[in-house]
Symmetry: D2
């Protein structure tokens, strides 16, 4: 399927906004300095806004797939094992619940009709959450993915979505990462294996608003 053939019927399509936290996307966030270069290079936040606006305008249901917020009560000390990226987030109290960093960037606050899936513990928005259920209950078969960060949560969410049977689109200039090299590697080597369409914001927004 070429990009031009890709369609986004509103009743079959969902927009997945992954981890739109202040800690990632806002000046002063705990991970913002790491993300800044890719966010600025691709004008990511503005592109995320455009895709979100187009989805809303086109009647496409919006879903937020939020990372686990760090909490004082987290059970980590009882866990037998943790992958490095999780241990690091836990140690840094990233996306701390009840703090500004753990709130969504104001431009990506969900509207009342939009779905916030359960928090995912590691990287995939689908793993150990209700995201697959929510998509099915809404009749969604195609997902458009934007947010953070390209080679971890975005890529894991895309890989899981493809395994679960969804048709996946990645908006390549509406995702960011902690460095150009790792984002380029995801876009060059991995996402094209699992995403039916990888396209830029203007192309996707045009289709969604059509």
């Amino acid at each position: 399927m070429s990009n031009s053939e890709q369609t986004y019927e509103p009743e079959l399509t969902g927009l997945l906004v992954v981890d739109p936290y202040n800690d990632f996307l806002s000046e002063g966030g705990k991970l913002y300095q790491l993300a800044r270069s890719t966010l600025e290079a691709h004008n990511v936040i503005d592109h995320m806004r455009q895709v979100l606006a187009a989805a809303r305008a086109g009647g496409v249901q919006v879903f937020i797939a939020p990372h686990h917020r760090w909490r004082e009560s987290d059970p980590y000390s009882h866990w037998k094992t943790m992958p490095p990226v999780q241990a690091s987030a836990a140690q840094g109290h990233v996306f701390a619940d009840g703090t500004w960093g753990g709130r969504f960037h104001p431009d990506f606050e969900p509207r009342s009709s939009e779905v916030v899936a359960q928090e995912h513990w590691l990287s995939s928005g689908f793993a150990n959450t209700d995201l697959d259920l929510q998509l099915k209950k809404h009749g969604i078969r195609k997902v458009i993915v934007i947010g953070m960060r390209a080679n971890t949560c975005i890529e894991s969410t895309v890989r899981f979505a493809a395994e679960l049977g969804y048709e996946v689109t990645v908006v390549k200039d509406a995702i960011g990462s902690f460095g150009a090299a790792e984002m380029d590697a995801s876009l060059q080597f991995n996402l094209p294996e699992y995403a039916s369409t990888i396209a830029a914001t203007n192309e996707i927004a045009a289709k969604l608003s059509a």
Copy 2:
């Protein structure tokens, strides 16, 4: 395996407390009148207390598997379909978030080291939640199940646990239902197919505290 051969090594065993809400277990709860006869006939709440105390005394990790709490923001009006038991809970605003009915019965409030899994939307504590992950992260392979209600959430949680590879014990006088007939049918026909052990509180408590 006979009941007497069943062992509960603390490092391998978890206690699952299913849906211990005031709406089910406390006088004045929305579903208490429906549950009352089985709760009283088997002295269920006292048995739940005894099993919980024995688990804590024996160093067995406690997990709460809580039903979805009704919220004003629930997405039901956008869902394509709902099973009858879910439609009914939604309509009745059962376990309403922020209300007394949606809080845990005071005797089953978790301690800080105990795990509260994500809320399950329908009946199985495992479906679309992090319960399986939490059990694995704690190294648990055997689960002891108590709570409400025998033929819906208890039975679905037991069926899922068995499908997922856990060794399951049901404490037959620490579960309740909306009527003796449906509870008896679960205990007679279905739970024995999936639970390796079905036993009474005194037997389980003795093993846990041993």
Copy 3:
């Protein structure tokens, strides 16, 4: 939703035929004597044929959800635990691979365009198999369930289907069990909680062929 309002759009509906093995359904099968009374009382095999024929006539995709076939190479001796119903099937070499008992009843052999999901180890056609994926890949949101046996594989498959977001119909006279009491209990207490529609063959067949 009342039964009369239930619709079965061919592009959204799948027929699930659960465990249609000779060992269950054919004279001489290992479990046939156990199943015989309910099969005969409700004319189950004939009803299964009618539902299957109606699904095919109506363009509804057919999926078989087959139980694990016993094999010499089964890993049971290395497993830490097995639920009773699984231990029993293993001990009896039920649905033995390569034998007549482990083949589908001739009237329920799939056509080349029909999907045979991976074998399920325990009871739910969805657990540890590709059934959910196959349904999604075909765009299915509604499932009609027939086959064996009412309170184990049928009920577990129905419970999982509902948890996974499908709209479920059970054809009450196209399922069998090992006794009237356990089948009646499933139909009276449990299936109505998870199935949106429970109806007889003539009603379902009429809708499918419409």
Copy 4:
């Protein structure tokens, strides 16, 4: 955790051999020319042999996670969507069932006590298969991953393993890919986020045989 602290208790550890097909690993296989450079550069097949031998010597249970074998009867023409990597494998009749290319490389044929999980349709050995169940039934909490190919099936299997709660080790010179760049990117950027240990064959083999 540093690599030197990583332990592999035989009763808790499983070796996952991913997609050890002739089509990948043997001269004349359909994908061998694509894989050849990385296989040779890192002496991958010999390293896979060494890890497997060490696992067997050390009493570590072996699991094969095999990719879907192409079959004439595959349902692809009825599927609504397919990710690119799957469409490509389908078109190329890769790992064709009943052919030499779809058989395991002779050095990685499982012994009778070793587990062959259900075939995975896309990339993760866990998705829509019984791999998680098999690991749990054997009491496994730690997995060591070898095989093909680094940035698709290996990385997806590792990401899923981590999401599901397993402690993951990748043997970096016992995996191959279709090019150094994509393998390096996986090893540099992605696998270190999810694998607790990434080490060479000699280090892992020494620990397994210890």
